[in-house]
């Protein structure tokens, strides 16, 4: 990496206690333990951060493609499958977790009632509202997201957490943030935070910086975690003390 000038020897900012940082690193593997992976680690940190034991948590996966434009390939819906695999982690943290698949053709706006099996049964009655809803959205496939009444899924003070990412296709940035925020806004939700989820250990990023050739984009090594909450809920100040 380039060496900045000597004028940048400032003190390192320290994240105040009680506040999460805007970047959540992927835990590195250790000699006696492989890394749990960035998505399970992020979901675990998310659950601990915005919910309490016994809170109802919904893991909502994308609907399957009704008419695939191409044959399924390995890696398709990898994020969705990864989210389903997080159910055990959420249950281990003492939350009442449900895993459902969003309908692909919800009309009128889907509110979550009678919407698929609870994959972690035996944790009490099926709640209508959740303190935390976690979902994953592909940047090029957000239509289903806009048809869900997310506000109706959330209990008072609840959080909608959306894992998505920006991509570069053909030299153009595909950033779903504005569309997702508009859809959430129609459900009465506002963006509270945008968290960077590192998909690789920090140590892997420590490479020398050299000029990037024309027609080349950098490898994507992070995803985004968008946190929405109800507009009428008291919003903390943007930079105030916790």
């Amino acid at each position: 990496m380039p060496t900045p000038s000597e004028s940048d020897r400032n003190t390192l900012p320290v994240v105040p206690a009680g506040r999460p940082a805007t970047v959540w690193p992927c835990p590195p593997a250790t000699p006696d333990r492989t890394s749990a992976g960035w998505l399970p680690s992020a979901v675990e940190r998310l659950v601990v951060t915005v919910s309490r034991p016994d809170d109802p948590v919904l893991l909502l996966t994308e609907p399957p493609l009704s008419q695939p434009t191409r044959p399924a390939e390995p890696g398709d819906d990898e994020l969705g499958e990864g989210l389903v695999a997080c159910a055990g982690t959420v249950a281990r943290l003492g939350r009442r977790v449900q895993v459902r698949t969003a309908p692909g053709d919800a009309s009128p706006r889907w509110t979550g009632s009678a919407c698929g099996p609870d994959l972690v049964p035996g944790r009490g009655p099926d709640p209508d509202c959740f303190l935390l809803v976690v979902t994953v959205v592909e940047p090029t496939r957000i239509g289903w997201f806009t048809r869900i009444d997310w506000g109706a899924l959330l209990a008072v003070g609840g959080t909608l957490a959306v894992v998505s990412r920006c991509e570069s296709f053909g030299g153009w940035l595909i950033d779903p943030t504005v569309e997702l925020a508009l859809a959430a806004d129609r459900s009465g939700l506002a963006l509270l935070d945008r968290i960077v989820l590192l998909e690789v250990p920090l140590s892997q990023l420590d490479m020398p910086a050299t000029p990037i050739p024309a027609g080349v984009v950098a490898q994507r090594v992070h995803s985004d975690l968008l946190l929405f909450t109800a507009v009428h809920a008291p919003m903390p100040p943007a930079w105030g003390a916790a």
């Binding site: 900045p4 940082a21 153009w172 950033d175 990023l205 490479m207 950098a218 490898q219």
Partner: protein, 269 residues
């Protein structure tokens, strides 16, 4: 670039997360008492580490780098350190003095690029223009001006269109800030598209080591907003055919005399 077939590809030698936290990434973490840090609200400026990384990736030695809102001159100083030519522009007299001092200091420390600080964009009455700019690199914060965020971003990004040569880059470092329903960087990407820029990629510049507390001892305040330890980066491209142009002579190879003084000057605008 018009007339050329672009085959964009991803390369693992570059990553969307920049290791620009000011401490070595591999340094051991201390778990001492939390220091009181300054409010990140004011961090519209770009740090030296972030500027150095952007310059290293999106320009080459001998290229011209311009910061059209150069603030204290960090981008300019890092550019001349990296053997680029640098042009800073600021209409604030106090900032002009600060930026020029930063450039002078960089030259005194042996920086081999040349630079200048202007107090306004050149006009038809100016004695010279900027010449071709390969990289426009600047920082945008949440408190730059009043008015709807998207409108003021459009105005700034539209003005930058005059600066970059075809085939050049605009790299904007955006403070982490949520306003108007989305974060500032998302506003930036949309405003750039509105004003004729081509958003190419979104990246993240670390500004601090993202220290992670053990979950077993983590007692978060669930209503607290996240504390910024990064800045967002939007990389824009310029449409159009690559222009043939004259460029300034490349900086001399090392070693350079450490007594060289700044070539900055203050032309009439």
């Amino acid at each position: 670039m018009t007339g050329e077939v672009e085959t964009w590809r991803c390369d693992a030698r570059w990553a969307t997360v920049w290791p620009t936290s000011r401490h070595a990434i591999t340094a051991p973490q201390t778990d001492g008492p939390a220091a009181v840090s300054s409010s990140p609200y004011a961090e519209a400026a770009v740090s030296a580490a972030v500027a150095a990384h952007a310059i290293a990736v999106y320009s080459r030695p001998g290229d011209t780098v311009c910061d059209p809102d150069c603030g204290p001159g960090t981008v300019i100083a890092e550019a001349v350190h990296a053997r680029r030519h640098a042009i800073g522009i600021t209409t604030n007299a106090g900032r002009w003095e600060t930026a020029r001092a930063a450039l002078t200091l960089a030259k005194a420390r042996g920086a081999r690029g040349d630079g200048m600080i202007l107090d306004a964009l050149p006009t038809g009455e100016s004695w010279t223009g900027l010449g071709p700019v390969d990289l426009v690199l600047t920082a945008i914060g949440p408190t730059d001006s009043d008015g709807p965020v998207r409108d003021r971003l459009r105005a700034r990004l539209a003005a930058y269109r005059k600066l970059s040569r075809p085939g050049g880059h605009l790299v904007v470092i955006a403070a982490y800030h949520v306003e108007g329903g989305v974060d500032l960087a998302s506003h930036l990407a949309a405003a750039g598209r509105d004003t004729g820029w081509r958003p190419v990629q979104r990246a993240v510049a670390l500004t601090a080591l993202p220290h992670v507390r053990e979950l077993s001892v983590y007692r978060p305040d669930s209503r607290a907003r996240a504390y910024p330890v990064h800045q967002d980066v939007i990389i824009f491209g310029v449409e159009g055919e690559r222009a043939r142009h004259l460029r300034l002579a490349d900086p001399p190879p090392p070693p350079a005399p450490r007594t060289a003084l700044s070539a900055s000057h203050r032309p009439a605008a």
